[in-house]
C-alpha cells in the first residue's frame, strides 16, 4: 500500500463572497478520482472505530473499500443495507463527533473523510440510469402507520417495508422530509436531494399521505383500528421563546418560521412564489446551534448587510457543527459571544429597531456539564436591528400526546419509550426521533427508527408486547 497522506482530500467549495449571495449548495462534492484517493486512506481496520461511532452502524470500511477500487455500484449496495438516506447523512451528520471522531486513522493524522465519501457515493448513484433497489421480503399482510416523514419516520418506513410489511406515512405538511425539508436550508441540503431520497423510500412501495394531521383528522387510537402498529416520529417542532419584553414586535421571528418561509415556501423567490419574508438589512439571530447558524447564513443570502449571531456562552460551547460555524464565519456572520438579549425596542409602528443585550461570563458547570453563563451587571448595550430570529430551541409538538390517552409523556413533553425497543406505554405504539429525545440529530432520529423497526417487526410476527 502506498504511503498514506496525513491530510484528507479537501472538497472544493463556492468562494464565501460568492455563496453568501446565493442559495446554491456550498461544497461541490468529490470527483470520482478525488473519492478514490480519499478512500485509499482507509486502513480497513479489523476493529473499525468508525462503525461503532455510527448510530446506524453503516459498514463504513466495506463501502469505502469498494470506492477505493472504483466499484461504486457495490459501494452503494453496501450502504443501502443500513442507510436509505446516504445523500442526506453525508451532508448533515455531525461526522466529527461520530464516525470520523472514532476513526482509527484520526489518532495520528486527519481521519478519513467518511461523510464526504458517503455523499459522493449517493450523488454518484443519482447520475446513474437506475438506482440500487432494496430487496423486499414477501408480504406479511401486516399494516403499519407512520406519523411524520422526518428521518425517524422515513427510516422506520424503509426498514419495515423491506421486511414485507405494508407501510403508510402520514405527514402534516404538504412536502415530506420533516426538518430536512422545512428547516435545513437549500445551500446545505438541496431540497431536490431530500425529494430524491424520499422518492426512493416511495419506490419501495411505502405510501405517503400528505396534508394529514394525525390527532385532528384521525387519532392514534383510530389508526390502531386500521393498522397493526403505529410509529410516532413527529419531531420537536414547537418553537421556544425567551419570554422577554418585545418578543412579539414585528420583525421578530422564530427560527422555524424564518426557515420554513425560506425553505419550504421558497420565500427567497418572492414574488415568483407567493409567501413573503422580511429581508432585513441588520439581522440578529439568537442562539448557537445548527438552527442559529442556518438562520444567520440565510439572512445573508436574503440580502442582509449585517448578520449578527448572539450567543450566551463562548465559542467552545457552541452546539453547532464545527463545519457550519466555520462556514458562517467565512461568509461574514458576526459573532457576539457571551451575550444575551434582555429586551427588544420597537418604533412607533411596532417594528423592532434595537435589541438590548447584556454581557455574560461563565460560572460553575450546570446540569449539562457546560459552564453556566451569568449576566455581568451594568453591561447592557444595544445593537440596531430590523429583523430578529430566535433560535434557542424547540420542544416536542403536543398534538399527539394530547389526543392519545394512555401514552406516557415526560415532564418535558417528550414521549417515554424503552430505549432498546422504541416501545411506548401503549400496546402497538412505538416512537422515536426528536419527539422522544427532544431536538437532536438526523442520524440519532434514524437510529431510533431502526431500533423501533426491529422491535416492531418482532411484535408483528409474535404478537408479544
Amino acid at each position: 500500500m502506498a504511503k498514506i497522506s496525513p491530510k484528507r482530500t479537501p472538497m472544493k467549495e463556492q468562494a464565501p463572497e460568492v455563496r453568501r449571495h446565493n442559495f446554491d449548495e456550498v461544497p461541490f462534492g468529490y470527483t470520482p478520482e478525488e473519492a478514490k484517493v480519499e478512500a485509499q486512506r482507509c486502513l480497513r481496520c479489523k476493529k473499525p472505530g468508525c462503525v461503532e461511532g455510527c448510530p446506524v452502524q453503516v459498514d463504513i470500511p466495506g463501502f469505502i473499500r469498494h470506492i477505493a477500487e472504483g466499484n461504486f455500484l457495490e459501494a452503494m449496495k453496501v450502504m443501502k443495507r443500513t442507510n436509505v438516506l446516504p445523500a442526506i447523512c453525508g451532508r448533515v451528520c455531525p461526522q466529527e463527533t461520530q464516525c470520523e471522531g472514532a476513526c482509527v486513522l484520526g489518532k495520528k493524522m486527519e481521519p478519513v473523510a467518511i461523510g464526504n465519501l458517503e455523499r459522493f457515493i449517493a450523488d454518484w448513484e443519482a447520475t446513474q440510469p437506475e438506482c440500487v433497489m432494496c430487496e423486499i421480503q414477501p408480504a406479511t399482510g401486516k399494516k403499519v402507520a407512520v406519523i411524520g416523514s422526518g428521518p425517524a419516520g422515513l427510516t422506520l418506513a424503509g426498514d419495515m417495508r423491506k421486511l414485507g410489511h405494508e407501510v403508510t406515512i402520514f405527514e402534516a405538511l404538504h412536502k415530506p422530509g420533516g426538518v430536512l425539508m422545512y428547516g435545513i436550508p437549500e445551500f446545505r441540503l438541496p431540497k431536490a436531494i431530500v425529494e430524491r431520497e424520499v422518492n426512493f423510500v416511495r419506490s419501495m412501495g411505502v405510501r405517503l399521505e400528505l396534508n394529514y394531521v394525525v390527532g385532528k383528522l384521525k387519532t392514534v387510537d383510530e389508526l390502531l383500528e386500521e393498522f397493526d402498529a403505529v410509529f410516532i416520529g413527529t419531531g420537536a417542532g414547537l418553537p421556544l421563546f425567551m419570554n422577554i419584553p418585545g418578543e412579539n414586535y414585528l420583525g421578530v421571528y422564530s427560527a422555524n418560521e424564518y426557515l420554513t418561509r425560506s425553505n419550504l415556501m421558497k420565500a427567497y423567490l418572492f414574488p415568483q412564489y407567493d409567501t413573503p419574508i422580511v429581508k432585513g438589512k441588520n439581522v440578529a439571530v439568537v442562539g448557537g446551534g445548527n438552527v442559529a447558524m442556518d438562520a444567520a447564513r440565510t439572512a445573508l443570502r436574503l440580502g442582509a448587510q449585517r448578520s449578527i449571531l448572539i450567543y450566551r456562552r463562548s465559542r467552545d460551547e457552541m452546539p453547532a457543527r464545527a463545519a457550519e460555524i466555520h462556514h458562517a464565519e467565512e461568509e461574514g456572520v458576526e459573532f457576539q459571544l457571551l451575550t444575551n438579549p434582555v429586551r427588544y425596542i420597537a418604533d412607533e409602528n411596532g417594528w423592532v429597531r434595537e435589541v438590548e443585550c447584556i454581557r455574560m461570563e461563565l460560572g460553575e458547570p450546570d446540569a449539562s456539564g457546560r459552564r453556566r453563563p451569568v449576566p455581568v451587571p451594568g453591561s447592557e448595550f444595544r445593537i440596531p436591528v430590523d429583523t430578529v430570529v430566535i433560535a434557542i430551541g424547540n420542544s416536542p409538538n403536543p398534538l399527539i400526546p394530547q389526543t392519545t390517552p394512555g401514552l406516557e409523556v415526560s415532564k418535558r413533553g417528550t414521549i417515554v419509550v424503552d430505549p432498546d425497543t422504541g416501545r411506548t406505554s401503549k400496546r402497538g405504539v412505538f416512537a422515536g426521533g426528536d419527539i422522544v429525545t427532544g431536538a437532536a440529530t438526523v442520524i440519532l432520529a434514524m437510529g431510533a427508527g431502526r431500533i423501533a423497526a426491529r422491535s416492531m417487526d418482532e411484535y408483528l410476527r409474535t404478537g408479544r408486547w
Binding site: 402534516a172 405538511l173 404538504h174 422545512y182 400528505l210 396534508n211 394529514y212 394531521v213 385532528k216 383528522l217 417542532g237 414547537l238 418553537p239 421563546f241 419570554n243 418578543e247 412579539n248 414585528l250 420583525g251 421571528y253 422564530s254 422555524n256 418560521e257 420554513t260 418561509r261 415556501m265 421558497k266 418572492f270 414574488p271 415568483q272 412564489y273 407567493d274 409567501t275 413573503p276 422580511v278 409602528n349 411596532g350 409538538n397 403536543p398 398534538l399
Partner: protein, 285 residues
C-alpha cells in the same frame, strides 16, 4: 388535488366554494378551520370551515378577496382543483347550554359565525344573531342565519337596508332592552371584535372571539400566529383560534397583521398585471 364542486358569488368580492373533502367534512366541528394552497408556488392560507355536509363529503368555505391569494382563489371555477387542503385545524368552539347567547358576525365573519350559531341552537340555547355589513349589497347569508337563530338583526354602516348602525350599536340595543345575555360570540374584522369585547366587558358578558392572525404551517410549528391573551403568548392555530375577548391584546394583533403590507401590495399589482396581460393570471409573476 381537491376538487371544487360548486362555486357561488355571495356579494361583490365574497365567494363561496364547495369542496370535495370527505375526510375533513366528517371531522369538522364549528370554529375549526382549514389551510389551503392553490398551486405549487402558492402560500398556505387559513380559512374557516363555514359548513360541512359529512354525508356528501362536502366542505364549504367562504372568503373575501383581499390579496393575491384570495383573488386567485376567486378565479377558480367548478371542476378546478386546489393543490393542498389541510384540516380540520384549531380547537372547536365550546358548545354548551349557556341560556341566551348572542352571535355577532361582521362582514365575512358571518359565514364563520353561522355554524357556531347553528350548533348553539341545537344545544338548546336561545340564539340572537346580529350581522353587520358596510352596505346592502354586501349582505351575506341572511336567509341561512335566519333559519338557525331565534332572532336576527341585520344592520349596515350606511343604513341602505333600512337599519343603520354598527353591530355594537345593535348589541347595545339588545342589552338596553333588558335582555339577560349569558354569552357572546363575535367573529369579524379585528377592530369589530375589539369593540364588541369592550362593550360586553362593561356588562360582564363572557365573550369569545375568533382571531385571524397571520399563519404559516398552522400546526404549532412556526409561531407566527402568536397572540397575547391575558399577558401570555398563545399560538392561535393550536391554542385557538377562539379566545376570551376580554383578555386579548387586539392592538398587538392589528399591528402584527401589517407585517407584510408592502409585499402584499406588490403581489397584488403583479397579479393584476398578469391578469390583464397574458390573461391566464395563474401565477401573477
Amino acid at each position: 388535488m381537491v376538487k371544487i364542486l360548486k362555486k357561488s358569488i355571495l356579494a361583490p368580492g365574497v365567494k363561496r366554494l364547495e369542496l370535495d373533502a370527505p375526510e375533513i367534512a366528517r371531522k369538522a366541528l364549528p370554529g375549526q378551520f382549514v389551510v389551503l394552497r392553490i398551486h405549487e408556488e402558492g402560500e398556505r392560507i387559513p380559512l374557516t370551515i363555514a359548513d360541512a355536509r359529512p354525508d356528501e363529503g362536502v366542505l364549504v368555505i367562504v372568503f373575501q378577496e383581499v390579496g393575491k391569494s384570495t383573488m386567485l382563489l376567486g378565479t377558480l371555477n367548478d371542476g378546478d382543483g386546489i393543490m393542498d387542503l389541510i384540516g380540520p385545524l384549531g380547537r372547536p368552539t365550546e358548545i354548551e347550554r349557556f341560556g341566551t347567547v348572542v352571535c355577532v358576525g361582521g362582514g365575512v365573519g358571518t359565514p364563520e359565525i353561522y355554524p357556531v350559531a347553528r350548533a348553539l341552537r341545537q344545544a338548546n340555547n336561545r340564539v340572537i344573531g346580529i350581522i353587520g355589513f358596510r352596505n346592502r349589497e354586501l349582505i351575506l347569508m341572511e336567509e341561512e342565519m335566519r333559519r338557525v337563530v331565534d332572532e336576527l338583526i341585520v344592520c349596515t354602516d350606511d343604513g341602505s337596508n333600512g337599519n343603520k348602525g354598527l353591530v355594537t350599536d345593535m348589541l347595545q340595543q339588545v342589552i338596553d332592552r333588558g335582555e339577560k345575555i349569558d354569552r357572546c360570540f363575535a367573529v369579524g374584522p379585528v377592530i369589530m371584535m375589539k369593540m364588541v369585547s369592550l362593550l360586553t366587558k362593561k356588562y360582564g358578558i363572557p365573550t369569545i372571539v375568533s382571531l385571524n392572525p397571520i399563519m404559516l404551517d398552522a400546526t404549532g410549528m412556526c409561531g407566527v400566529c402568536r397572540v397575547e391573551v391575558d399577558g401570555q403568548t398563545k399560538f392561535a392555530c393550536v391554542d385557538g383560534p377562539e379566545f376570551d375577548g376580554h383578555k386579548v391584546n387586539f392592538d398587538l394583533l392589528m399591528a402584527r397583521l401589517k407585517t407584510y403590507v408592502n409585499e402584499e401590495r406588490q403581489a397584488v399589482e403583479l397579479f393584476r398585471q398578469a391578469q390583464t396581460g397574458c390573461g391566464c393570471g395563474r401565477r401573477g409573476a
